[in-house]
């Protein structure tokens, strides 16, 4: 080992460079990060408070009704929703649930707001496609925990760094599926739109996006579930919610409470997934 020819090259200080870069960002952009954290905290706190204002009974009824209409008016999903939410309430996890829902909604919305336009850009520009594809690969293959470190550096601990890391983790499917959906629109559809003298945006909004809708929705569905899983991991850096209970149980090696909270997360994931899928089928 010691005499390996490869040792000619001294160790490149990648870790130092990365640290320096993050430090530089933190020093120079702290005003921005602080502003983002304060406004983000305010928005999410208010949202959770608002959700907690709704009586759990009303909340359960509303969500069940939503599941009923999403699931083509069959009874399986609504039944699961009622029982699942009653279980969460019964186990005293209602407040953490509301925090988790807030984090998932905010992270998903941000991912969609950023992801759909990025996907459109990739579909329309080969250069954008060429640049963004490897970035997405990077984002998806980098272990999720790694994002927690710069998140803490930028925003400290709490909900905002949680959402920040969740957005990075959950963004790629929406971008990829939007890109794919638009590229899959058949040549004849595009030619038909163009032959009538559509402008670029008419072609996009009247033909391409409606035809790509199902594919884009499948991407958004993925994004929501990834956001949920990252919100749980983000509890390690102080994001409140169901994940916090899981982490607490882990640290104290309490099998029982760990499973109770973990099961609540499964319930939430299934309700989110099936409801979104149901709406996508219409």
């Amino acid at each position: 080992m010691e005499n390996s020819i490869l040792d000619v090259i001294p160790e490149i200080p990648v870790a130092d460079w990365m640290a320096t870069f993050i430090d530089w960002l933190t020093d120079n952009l702290s005003w921005l990060f602080d502003a983002l954290r304060d406004s983000g905290d305010w928005v999410m706190d208010s949202m959770t408070e608002l959700l907690l204002l709704i009586p759990p009974v009303v909340f359960i009824i509303l969500l069940t009704a939503l599941a009923f209409f999403a699931g083509s008016k069959k009874w399986g999903l609504p039944t699961f929703t009622v029982l699942g939410l009653l279980y969460i309430y019964n186990q005293g996890l209602w407040e953490p649930l509301m925090f988790t829902i807030t984090l998932v909604i905010v992270a998903s919305l941000l991912s969609i707001i950023i992801g759909v336009p990025l996907g459109i850009l990739m579909a329309k520009s080969e250069i954008a496609n060429f640049i963004i594809t490897p970035v997405l690969d990077f984002m998806q293959t980098m272990p999720a925990f790694v994002y927690l470190i710069p998140a803490v550096a930028f925003f400290g601990i709490g909900m905002v760094p949680g959402v920040f890391s969740a957005v990075i983790f959950a963004l790629p499917p929406t971008v990829r599926f939007t890109n794919l959906g638009i590229r899959q629109v058949s040549d004849e559809m595009v030619e038909a739109a163009q032959s009538f003298g559509s402008t670029g945006s008419q072609q996009l909004f009247k033909v391409e996006l409606p035809l790509a809708k199902a594919t884009i929705m499948a991407g958004i569905n993925q994004t929501v579930l990834l956001a949920l899983s990252m919100v749980v991991i983000a509890s390690m850096i102080g994001a409140p919610g169901l994940g916090e209970r899981v982490i607490n149980a882990l640290q104290r090696a309490q099998v029982g409470p760990g499973f109770v909270a973990g099961f609540a997360l499964v319930v939430l994931a299934i309700i989110l997934d099936r409801t979104l899928q149901g709406f996508n089928k219409d």
Partner: protein, 402 residues
């Protein structure tokens, strides 16, 4: 008639090394040579023709002949590599985006092989698409779209989605959509090729019927020779990206420009294409005012005829006389045809297809007279000519079989 659309030396090259390939095209190298030397594919090779206002101009060729590429260059769905496209004298190939959009909106509409209907829109919404992108207000554009659908008998289906309709109906919608913004030129890319044969025939008839009142300039792409002969006023035949012949169906069938065209037209069913005009001959006639039975008898003897047509001074057909009647008239010393003239002669116009002529002539003892709308005699068709024309076809079929 004015020229509506003209293309001049239109070239499309696909692939890299466009410039190098273009030079070779100009030097007259073939498609294969250019592909071998540069790796570029010549889609359309220096195509030129003029389309007159109000005609149905068919571009025909087998797949890979460049006909679809050519039609897509007319509205620049495909950018030409070189050459000019003139519509009403305006050079479309040089236009900026805004002008091109205006031309697409106001002058050109396209009908697609697989109908090109938007599946997420209703029939009505599909039909009003062209007007919608022009910014026409909702009420006006719906009214126009409904009128176009009504014209095609599709109004009851206006709230359905395209996939609820049969193929023929969908293409009627495609046509109605193309006509809704009242274009001057209609581009039809294999518009009926995806339909089954009977529906295709109906659609061809409907197109011709519609054209009688609308007088659009229609550029119709097809690979089907029978279809081109049926609907085309003129036909351009393409091979390997080149336009090898332009002419009426008649001209192409009778004078194929080269072996390729000849082989192409060999398969055609002559009885459905050739008309009385193609096989009629100049008849021996008798003029009622100047000639009598004696002259008739003399001529019949000389020519070996058993009957002769009688015309008046205006060349209008009066009837015919038979050899028997003529001889008895001569014996009775009668000087005119008044008593022996027979009028039960079948008459057809010169556009009558040989296929239809066959039944008429089969039941007739006399030749069939070909007359114009004023009953003026233009020629006659005798049984042996019809059989001859059909036999020529059969002979070619058996030659092909060898």
């Amino acid at each position: 008639m004015a020229t509506k659309v003209e293309i001049q030396n239109l070239v499309k090259i696909f692939g890299k090394k466009e410039k190098q390939a273009l030079e070779l095209v100009k030097k007259g190298h073939s498609k294969e040579e250019i592909l071998e030397k540069t790796g570029a594919t010549v889609g359309v090779n220096q195509a030129s023709f003029k389309v007159e206002e109000g005609e149905i101009f068919v571009i025909m060729g087998l797949s890979g002949s460049g006909k679809s590429t050519l039609v897509r260059m007319l509205n620049r769905l495909i950018e030409p590599t070189e050459g000019n496209i003139l519509i009403d004298g305006e050079n479309v190939s040089q236009m900026n985006k805004e002008d091109l959009r205006r031309v697409r909106r106001e002058k050109l509409s396209m009908v697609f092989q697989n109908f090109g209907l938007f599946p997420h829109r209703t029939i009505l919404e599909n039909t009003e698409y062209g007007l919608e992108v022009q910014g026409v207000d909702k009420e006006t554009r719906q009214k126009k779209a409904e009128a176009a659908l009504d014209n095609a008998g599709l109004l009851p289906y206006k709230d359905q989605k395209p996939n609820q309709l049969s193929g023929g109906m969908q293409q009627r919608v495609g046509l109605a959509r193309a006509l809704a913004n009242d274009p001057e030129v209609l581009l039809m890319d294999e518009a009926f090729s995806a339909l089954d044969p009977l529906i295709r025939r109906d659609m061809q008839d409907e197109l011709l019927e519609m054209q009688e009142t609308m007088h659009k300039t229609i550029i119709f792409i097809t690979h089907d020779l029978n279809e081109s002969l049926r609907i085309g006023d003129r036909i351009a035949i393409m091979k390997d990206g080149e336009v090898v012949q332009v002419g009426t169906g008649e001209e192409i069938l009778t004078n194929p420009a080269n072996d390729y065209v000849e082989r192409f037209v060999e398969d055609v069913d002559r009885s459905k294409v050739l008309t009385a005009e193609n096989i009629m001959i100049r008849p021996q006639t008798l003029r009622a005012s100047k000639q009598g039975p004696r002259v008739a008898a003399q001529q019949m003897k000389a020519e070996g005829l058993s009957s002769m047509l009688v015309i008046d001074d205006n060349h209008q057909l009066k009837g015919y006389v038979t050899d028997k009647d003529v001889l008895s008239a001569v014996k009775s010393n009668i000087r005119n045809f008044d008593n022996i003239l027979r009028t039960d002669i079948p008459k057809v116009s010169k556009d009558t297809l040989i296929g239809d002529l066959y039944d008429i002539i089969y039941d007739s003892d006399t030749p069939v007279a070909v007359v114009d709308e004023n009953n003026r005699l233009e020629g006659i068709v005798i049984r042996s000519l019809v059989i001859g024309a059909l036999a020529k076809e059969r002979e070619e079929e058996s030659n092909n079989g060898e």
